[in-house]
């Protein structure tokens, strides 16, 4: 009969209306500035630079200024100047570091290619989204200091990925140490064989 | 009381005069509607409530819509906006005719003594009470009107009903387009 469908429809809306009061699961709205959604782990927008140590961000950048990312970046939003001097990196090897590292986020298209190509796990994708500014030019060009974020922060936003990276780095470091130790042992043995009476101290402690 | 009448009359006449002299048809139609409101106000002033509302309902609600639809359905061509040479002459002769008729009518009214027509014992009109009718004035409540419509004037009511039906059908037939695409509804 005419009208039954209409009544059913009214029933549906009434159910929703009543339900929205007693069933909080129905309300999907997040009241944003006070409440924020939990972002999915794979969420990403702009890159940041990983530092090992939060207390000395500039000193412990993983980046070695190899400029691969700068070359690979499709919109060419990365600008890097190499340092003149070297300093030891995480494995203790002396490396160059970026004297200037800037990303123009107004140009960046969040493609993650820089992350993919980085051989040093030094650049990763961030999850910030409240980055609107009133200045179109200078405030959107992020410099080295603004980009650097600690490894702990990285763990916080991408825990699984960060754990993998750390494991890989640890493995590399361990391999490097073993290699160094083996090399040292070999060198020591050779030295011992060459000059057995005089024992030279090893190069690295 | 009389002042109210004069006000109503001036309003009605002014809007009607302007309406009939404007070149913009829509404006004239809307002004005429205002004039019809004035006439409804006159009915209210005279204590004929029902007629006043019927006037508003029929003229403002229905006839005005028909007029406006007709105006929109008959777009004027360029030639209409030009003042034709004969129209000035016609206007002058029209005004003369109108004034002549008004003169005759007015003379007739002013020369007639209405005193003997008026019902005896009409009390002086209370002033300053808006449009409330005089107490002893003839009243026509809706009930009276309904009773009369159904008894004395029942035949007339039936005929009016038939007339309206026929007029409606006639209007539809006249205005409907011939041919298969006659989808246009008569307002």
């Amino acid at each position: 009969m005419l009208g039954t469908g209409l009544l059913q429809g009214l029933g549906v809306t009434a159910k929703n209306f009543v339900g929205s009061f007693h069933d909080p699961a129905r309300l999907t709205t997040i009241e944003y500035p006070e409440v924020k959604t939990k972002l999915p782990e794979a969420y990403r927008n702009f890159p940041f630079l990983v530092t090992e140590n939060a207390t000395d961000p500039m000193g412990t950048l993983r980046c070695v200024a190899c400029q691969i990312c700068e070359k690979e970046c499709p919109p060419q939003c990365i600008y890097i100047e190499k340092s003149k001097d070297k300093k030891p990196d995480a494995t203790g090897k002396p490396q160059l570091f970026p004297a200037v590292f800037a990303i123009d986020t107004s140009v960046c298209m969040s493609c993650q290619i820089c992350v993919e190509v980085c051989p040093f796990e030094a650049i990763k994708m961030d999850q910030v989204y409240e980055i609107a500014t009133t200045d179109r030019f200078s405030a959107l060009l992020l410099n080295r200091e603004q980009l650097a974020k600690s490894n702990a922060y990285y763990h916080e936003i991408h825990p699984t990925e960060a754990a993998e990276v750390d494991a890989r780095l640890a493995a590399e470091r361990k391999a490097a140490e073993e290699k160094a130790a083996a090399a040292a042992a070999a060198k020591a043995a050779a030295a011992a064989a060459k000059a057995s009476p005089v024992a030279k101290p090893p190069l690295t402690a | 009381m009389t002042a109210a009448l004069v006000l109503i009359a001036v309003f009605t006449l002014a809007t009607a005069a302007v309406a009939l002299s404007l070149r913009n048809l829509i404006h004239s139609a809307l002004l005429l509607i205002a004039s019809w409101f004035g006439i409804a106000a006159f009915y209210l002033w005279a204590g004929a409530e029902f007629v006043a509302f019927a006037q508003v309902l029929v003229y403002v609600g229905a006839v005005s819509m028909v007029v406006l639809f007709a105006v929109l359905l008959t777009r004027r061509s360029r030639a209409d906006t030009v003042i034709a040479p004969d129209s000035v002459a016609r206007a002058i002769s029209a005004v003369i005719t109108g004034i002549a008729v008004f003169g005759v009518l007015g003379a007739a009214i002013l020369n007639t003594s209405f005193a003997r027509l008026s019902p005896a014992g009409v009390p002086p009109l209370p002033s300053g009470t808006g449009v409330s009718p005089v107490i002893s004035a003839p009243t026509a409540t809706v009930r009276d009107i309904g009773m009369q419509l159904m008894s004395t004037h029942a035949a007339a009511l039936l005929i009016i009903g038939i007339l309206l039906t026929v007029a409606l059908l006639g209007a539809v037939v006249l205005a409907a387009q011939d041919g298969p695409e006659s989808k246009q509804e008569s307002p």
């Binding site: - | 009939l20 005279a46 006839v63 007709a70 109108g98 009214i109 007639t112 027509l117």
Partner: protein, 105 residues
């Protein structure tokens, strides 16, 4: 000139009537002519009400009754008239009254 309401009403209605007449005579647009005629009809209605209100006492509400019927007839007249205008417009592509004279003798 007396200030009795009845002559005033009658003057008012005759003025309205003449305005309608002038409009109907002067304008060439058929719609306006029709509206002028409507005004004349309304003027006649004013007379009914005026005489009902101030005239000699007749059977109750006769004037009102007349006006009601007159309004109904006027509505029918307007509907048919405007339908005619539309038909004429469709025929001769304008609605000037003086051009609608093809049936003259």
């Amino acid at each position: 000139m007396s200030l009795d309401p009845l002559p005033l009403c009658l003057l008012f209605s005759s003025a309205l009537f003449c305005l309608g007449l002038i409009g109907a005579l002067a304008r060439s647009n058929t719609i306006l002519v029709l509206l002028g005629i409507e005004l004349m009809l309304n003027a006649a209605n004013l007379n009914f009400i005026a005489f009902w209100r101030y005239g000699p006492v007749t059977s109750p509400a006769t004037g009102v009754m007349f006006v009601i019927f007159s309004i109904a007839v006027a509505a029918a007249e307007a509907a048919v008239g405007l339908a005619l205008i539309i038909a004429v417009y469709r025929h001769q592509k304008n609605i000037r009254l003086q051009e609608a004279n093809r049936l003259k003798g």
